[in-house]
Amino acid sequence: MKAALALLALAATGAADTQAAVRFVACPIYRDTDAGRKSGCWLADDPATGTRYDVTSAPTKPDWNHAVLVEGRPDPAAGNPCGGLVLEPARVSVLDEGCTRFMLEAEGYAGRKFALPRRNVRPLYEARTPPARPFAARVVTVPFDYDSSFVSYQLADYYLDEAINYALDVAPARITVTGYAATRADMVSGHKLAEDDGLARTRAELVAHALTLRGVTAADIRVTTGTDSPSADEAFDGLDAPSRRRVEVRIEPGSATR
């Protein structure tokens, strides 16, 4: 039954070797699989195709009281641990729109045992290897969820930490913080999605503030905004749409304005 569902889902989304990214708005479904901590499954049905996707791998998980914007790429090789075609990579943004909460029992699905994500901030008590000299100019990109300036856990915070550590390690440096927002309107599942013009600056100022909280000299930081555009940065795992929501931190060693 589960295999059949997966095959059906595959057929609905096209050939397995050329998986196109999907993007839709839906009410999430929680499946209460229990393989230990953080092991529950998150599912969402694409209203355009009826395909049920497994969005559990998204760094930001859904809230069962709210609609979600799902962005991801199907990975048919990932098996069927939750009862949906696995999106990997996946991104979820929690929207203001309300939803009726819905929970499924495990129904025989195993879920996934929690494993610490690759992108996680390490504790202060762990030794950190500083970068080797000579220091090079570097751009670190901090991703954001749709319509949000919150630095997400185990994704955005990882890149923010990387930017801050590099800025501190190579100081003095000239730092340019450039915010971007997805201001061009898209119709997704009948929803008009467009971020506010001011969000690019809000994101950039928030990242700049984070830099100063960690000890980067405020006078070395310039805050600016860029126009709505995609990025090929690794933070997006090849997903175009989420890449329009970002802050780029450019760190140029030895170029401090002081």
Binding site: K38, D63, P123, L124, L160, L213
Partner: protein
Amino acid sequence: MAGRRSRLALAGAGAVLAASLFAAHAAPPPDRWWQPGEGRSFPAKLDYADPTGTVRLLLDGGPMETRGHPFFEALGPNGRACVTCHQPADAMSLAVADVQRQWDRKGPADPLFAAIDGSNCPSLPQGERASHSLLLDHGLIRLARPWPPRDLTGKPVAADFTIELVRDPTGCNADPKWGLKSADPHISVYRRPRPVANFKFIEAMGFAYDPKAGMPLELDPETGKPVSGNLMADGRVPTLSAQMRDAAATHLAFLRALDKADIARILDFERRLYVAQQSDRAGGALDADGAEGGPHKLQASPPGRLGSQGTPVFSEFEAWEKTPAAEKAKLSPEVRAFRDSVARGARVFRDKTFLISDAAGINSPVGFGNPVRNSCVFCHNMSYMGMDVAPGQVDLGTTNQPFADPQPWLPLFRVTCTGRPHPHYGKTILTHDPGYALTTGKCADVGRITLQSLRGLSARAPYFSNGTARDLRGIVDYYDRRFHIGYTEQEKTDLVNLMRAL
């Protein structure tokens, strides 16, 4: 009646301890209650009987003379000292049984019952027991928080919610002098005093970020250095120094600012002090046969470590799981049963998962999902202490309806969010204590309360910031109801035994 019984039991237990000490030293031991200005010596090791055994305090580098020490001397006209509400016998907090004992002995004249916060409202007749009912019956101290909230410089914070009074059993929030509509508007909330010990852990920063805020840790405006964010129920001060000034000006009615020397001496004392349960009346020594209960382990261990990536939380009792059968057979059935139960309780605490839902600070805005399946150590994640390595402001629902247990003795407020609605409650929230929101001015923070240390619990009932769990079983029962956990009776007993061993 139950309170009277527990007071008598405590006095009896104290008497037993006193008798043994008396025999050893041939001098009457000092009372378990520390009055300001007594000038006692604070020893390097200090034991007190509590309802389930003995709580122990260790003072690094002790003993210390307390005569003239600002923690132990009355600083203001109300006769209060820090020690008044942070009693050594109560694990440096305040047990309601000792509050009642003090009322029986001294009545309203005792500095503990000072009008400013040891009564339900300063405007009430101070000689009457009813005017002190929240302290006497629930161990609650009045906190007057400014409205609108003010930042650390005293500047008003623009709140994204309005607040109005629904019910005011103490009369203080409607009081013309002390209330919400007075010339100097304040909101009176009522909270338990937090233990003043084990600060190595409370001040520790395991990570540079607060994932609940999505930002690096806040900076102390005085030093420019980051702070742990784990002080005070509502996080209203960033450092112990700021806490001292806040307490001196409010609880102690101190008319001048604490000077640097005073602050340094208090800090020095507080940072050297460790407290934990040392022995159990049923289970005996908590550091016996390889177990590592008691405060010595705290004194010797590094702070701020995440249990999931290092020493599992409360694995101090693992040795009792591995006691050879032959050794176990030598123990009394009572000791054996207690040790097995504590070890099982630690497993339940770490491993029994349940669905956590609609709790701000967990299910929002971090991105863990709502709901998320996890266990007690999801939040109580710091090795040895069971507090949050990250700043631990979480809304368990203890102060917010519909989750809060009935607490008709406390005020009830209606909060209306003027910006984005609260992620879990919507636009309107009924709360007995807005908690962290009275510091940040954010509707999303209503009811978020800082997690605290789980050590020395037996000595300081009742529990939760508003004292609604009268005993340790009350804590377990609340969680069971709130998150539909479905603990078995055995699991509940095991969790209670774990907590009484901490």
